[in-house]
């Protein structure tokens, strides 16, 4: 069972006390936080499932998203290199979005967390019920 931040081991097998470099750590944490954002996850999912899509199509497939958040999230994902944005200079405008290789790899990485959540959600729900019961008791 490993920690959240993978402990590094030297070739000799001695454990190096997670001295990863605070700057990188901060960056990585920021990336994770952003990636785990509700809309980012949802859009990642629809693009993974449907391949290349246009702006309004993503909006329809992403239940409940506002236009503002759609634009904002897609921009952010483009900025970070997760999606590619191809503008066709026609009228009315046509813009196509799809996942880059980096986007696919991100999706794959999150797969593990999904599996964990799917496997353990029953335990979490049970814990919540137990917690509720304990607190009703006093």
């Amino acid at each position: 069972m490993q920690g959240i931040k993978p402990s590094m081991r030297s070739p000799l097998g001695r454990e190096i006390p997670d001295q990863v470099d605070p700057v990188l750590e901060e960056l990585v944490r920021g990336i994770i936080a952003q990636v785990a954002d509700k809309w980012t996850m949802l859009i990642l999912e629809v693009l993974e499932e449907h391949g290349t899509l246009r702006f309004t199509q993503i909006g329809k497939l992403t239940e409940g998203i506002s236009q503002k958040m759609l634009t904002q999230t897609l921009r952010q994902m483009e900025r970070d290199g997760f999606v590619s944005r191809i503008v066709h200079p026609v009228i009315p405008p046509k813009v196509e979005y799809s996942l880059t290789e980096l986007g696919h790899s991100l999706s794959a990485a999150f797969c593990g967390v999904w599996e964990w959540a799917a496997a353990r959600h029953a335990d979490i729900e049970a814990a919540r019920r137990a917690f509720e019961a304990r607190n009703r008791a006093d």
Copy 2:
């Protein structure tokens, strides 16, 4: 390369169109979102590194957290069964926190995302610089 939500396959190898059950999906998404929260990640990390800790110790080890968020986050983690909270009925009060097995497993699951972020952060930074450059150009 798999999707964010692991596609299920029947024994015949046919792909079942991720019809997982929207209720479970919503729950799982909620769990992920919460787990990826800044303070939750940090506290998970210090508890994984240091084992059992008291309230104020966690506060000191978790750089920049306010008392309010510490209480709030710990309660949430307790509620979900990630940490156990043992109250010693002494004065002044003594409360000890530690990760449960579920907490450790969560930490382990997130390890994959950390590895991905560490491996690919350079690509993300490069994408950001490229994006900046593109937008300065117009």
